[in-house]
């Protein structure tokens, strides 16, 4: 029996406490890498080669939208699913926007571990 290879999740968020705890929660199921400096996130992604990227929207120096554009413009990363995490949106807004920000799916903080996993699974399979 061959163990299923863990999927690689890159989490880009400047909230150190959050990234530490989300890593703890996801580590059993996924191979998680955290990047707290958005300006280093592209390089990290190129090196880490994630299967999915969780991207905070509001970050200092480089916001999630800009970073998503750079990722999409990078050949080896352009097919990687990106899910935004935002602390600035109400869940109703998520619904009214069809769950999308700039064409990317997003989750409104605070999100439970269960919902986060469900979302990750959904987009890993798509």
């Amino acid at each position: 029996m061959t163990a299923m290879k863990k999927k690689r999740i890159l989490i880009v968020d400047d909230e150190v406490g959050f990234t530490r705890l989300v890593s703890l929660n996801l580590a059993y199921q996924y191979f998680v890498r955290v990047e707290n400096s958005p300006e280093q996130a592209l390089a990290a992604a190129q090196e880490f080669k994630p299967d999915l990227i969780l991207l905070d929207v509001m970050m200092p120096k480089l916001d999630g939208g800009e970073l998503a554009s750079q990722i999409r413009a990078t050949a080896e990363l352009k097919a990687v699913p990106i899910v935004f995490l935002t602390a600035a949106a109400a869940s109703r807004e998520v619904n009214s926007r069809g769950g999308q920000i700039g064409g990317f799916p997003f989750l409104a903080k605070p999100v439970s571990v269960a919902d986060l996993r469900a979302c990750i699974e959904k987009h890993l399979q798509s």
Binding site: F18, L21, L24, N25, L85, A87, A88, P110, V113
Partner: protein
């Protein structure tokens, strides 16, 4: 007949004295002339004194002394050098029954003049052949000294021509000695006195008329039946630019004015001649051949002879050219003033309108700035609060998954913490929603459809709380410009409030209506400020059968964060958000308790599209 005439003259003068209108004065004076013109008279000294009374505008006439024959006897002076003749005269006078004369006698002209200087004599009987005066000069000398007294010549000269000459010179009568008896003498004496008085009165009238015609600045004219001038006064003479009033006699208005004015005046006068109706106080435009235009305030009267027959016209015109010109200037100035005033009013209205727009814009800007700052604040708060909440939630979930199993108390603690996170999150989300409601994303929507969809979204809660739903949606309600998602949020908020108020079941009634405010009593509450009689509106009513809202809390229900729900059940932002969304749609919302049965009625009114 003569006596009657004199009496009438006196009465008329008495009347004239009290009148103020100069037209009436002329009329009456002319009547005097008509009546008395056949009387013999000679010039007498002026009988009036003084000037026009500025208060009464009337002439201070000095009328004849009271005329009474029954008073003291009238003194008669006989100037006769013949004692025989004097005796005869005396006998005639004394023997007459009821004689009213007292005779005094002198024998010379100088004696007579001397006596007359003392006054009191009312008639002189004069013999021409006196020792101190040649007979052809006697009358002249006496008459020139006392022209105001009637003189009867008693002469032995039986010469008709001589007699006529003396009468023409002013003698009242010429009686030939030996050819008259007492009756003739006394009648002649009576008539002489009366006639002389009439002459003086007439002279006074003439003088008054002359003074009037010569001094009044108004233009006065008399015309015959063919509208030819028979007399004009100096004012009209000057107006016609003539040097002599007589130059106008026989001429007509056609000689002085253009045909336009002359014809109109001629027609006026001919009508007066036909009908006898005067033309009083008309304003005439006078056009002159040299192009001048003058204006006159004119009255025209029928001119009647002593038999009352109309023989011409007369009139008075006052030159009001200056007044008319000033009036024209005033009218132009007034028109200009009105125009400017209208301009000012228009500018003022524009300014008011601009000011109102500015205020509205300012209010919107302030509101937008407020919203923007609230929005910015809310977003900032959301970011700063939600991130820690997220971290805490991650931690709670981690602890739940890894350490709670089998530890009931730990599970309980972690569940409480999770609930607290949700509560904090819902507050932040409400704040975000409240601050993000500023611009509706509107399109033409079927309001009834939006209501039905919103009911569908709370169907589970309705069923769960055993609440019966009654809908009464008016198909006449037109499509409205609405932000569908925000309006759904409004109805869901209202329905959820109603559901929570009817935890033990009840009835939720939703009604829509197309209405028109036909009566003032319909315009109550917020509607009174937003609508007026005749306005159309779409009404939505949401009624519940819950316990209602305490009256003292009603004014606060739209305040942010005000809630009557238990802690953790309400954010206090539902109704403020609802009100904001309604107002964004230019609608009004009113919440009140239903009378009697309890429950709450929420009324929403949308203005009909124009």
């Amino acid at each position: 007949m003569e006596e009657e005439a004199i009496m009438e003259t006196r009465e008329d003068l008495g009347l004239v004295q009290g009148r103020t209108g100069f037209t009436g004065l002329i009329f009456r004076l002319f009547r005097q002339l008509s009546i008395t013109r056949n009387l013999p008279f000679s010039h007498a000294r002026a009988g009036y004194h003084g000037r026009v009374d500025p208060k009464t505008k009337s002439w201070p006439l000095k009328i004849l002394e009271p005329f009474t024959e029954t008073a003291a006897k009238q003194r008669v002076l006989l100037i006769e050098d013949s004692r025989v003749d004097a005796q005869v005269i005396r006998n005639m006078i004394d023997q007459a029954a009821h004689s009213v004369f007292h005779l005094e006698e002198v024998e010379t002209l100088s004696g007579g003049l001397q006596r007359l200087e003392h006054g009191g004599i009312e008639l002189v009987l004069l013999d021409l052949s006196l020792p101190d005066s040649p007979k052809d000069q006697t009358f002249t000398k006496l008459h020139s000294a006392v022209s105001h007294l009637p003189i009867i010549i008693l002469s032995g000269i039986d010469d008709q021509d001589f007699a006529n000459q003396k009468v023409q010179e002013g003698a009242q009568d010429y009686l030939i000695k030996g050819q008259f008896d007492a009756r003739l003498l006394l009648r002649s004496m009576r008539y002489a006195i009366k006639r002389k008085r009439a002459e003086i009165a007439l002279a006074q009238e003439r003088e008054l008329l002359r003074a009037l015609l010569h001094n009044i600045p108004d233009r006065i004219y008399f015309k015959d039946e063919k509208s030819r001038f028979i007399r004009i006064n100096p004012a009209l003479t000057a107006h016609f630019k003539l040097s002599d009033p007589h130059a106008a006699i026989g001429k007509t208005d056609f000689d002085f004015f253009t045909v336009e004015h002359a014809q109109a005046a001629y027609e006026d006068e001919q009508r007066i001649l036909r009908t006898g109706h005067p033309v009083v106080g008309i304003i005439e435009k006078e056009t002159h051949p040299d192009g001048r235009v003058t204006w006159a305030f004119t009255s025209k009267m029928p001119l009647r002879n002593k038999h009352g027959q109309i023989v011409g016209t007369f009139g008075v015109s006052r030159d009001i050219t200056d007044i008319v010109m000033k009036e024209e200037q005033l009218k132009r100035a007034n028109a200009e003033l009105t125009r400017k005033s209208e301009e000012i009013l228009k500018v003022l209205a524009d300014l008011k309108s601009s000011n109102k727009e500015l205020k509205n814009t300012q209010a919107h800007l302030i509101q937008a700035a407020k919203l923007e700052s609230v929005g910015t604040l809310a977003a900032g708060v959301a970011h700063e609060v939600k991130n820690p909440l997220q971290t805490i939630l991650m931690g709670v979930d981690y602890l739940t998954e890894n350490f709670a199993t089998g530890h009931e108390t730990v599970t309980l603690v972690l569940d409480e913490m999770r609930e607290a996170i949700k509560r904090a999150d819902s507050i932040v989300r409400g704040l975000l929603e409240f601050s993000s409601v500023n611009q509706p994303n509107a399109s033409e929507e079927d309001l009834n459809r939006v209501v039905e969809k919103s009911i569908g979204l709370v169907h589970y809660q309705l069923t769960k709380s055993r609440i019966q739903i009654v809908t009464d949606l008016d198909p006449a309600v037109p499509r409205l410009s609405l932000d569908r998602i925000k309006m759904e949020q409004v109805f869901i908020n209202l329905f959820m409030n109603a559901i929570q108020a009817m935890a033990n079941g009840g009835t939720l009634t939703v009604r829509t209506r197309l209405i028109r405010f036909e009566e003032a009593q319909l315009l109550t509450g917020p509607a009174a400020r937003h609508f007026k009689i005749g306005d159309g509106a779409v009404l939505v009513e949401v009624n519940d059968t819950g316990p209602g809202i305490p009256e003292e809390l009603l004014p606060k229900i739209f305040d942010p964060f005000f809630t009557t729900k238990p802690t953790g059940k309400g954010t206090g932002l539902g109704l403020p958000v609802t009100k904001k969304i309604i107002e964004l749609h230019s609608g009004v919302i009113d919440v009140r308790n239903l009378p009697g049965s309890g429950g709450v009625r929420v009324t929403i009114l949308f203005r009909l599209p124009p």
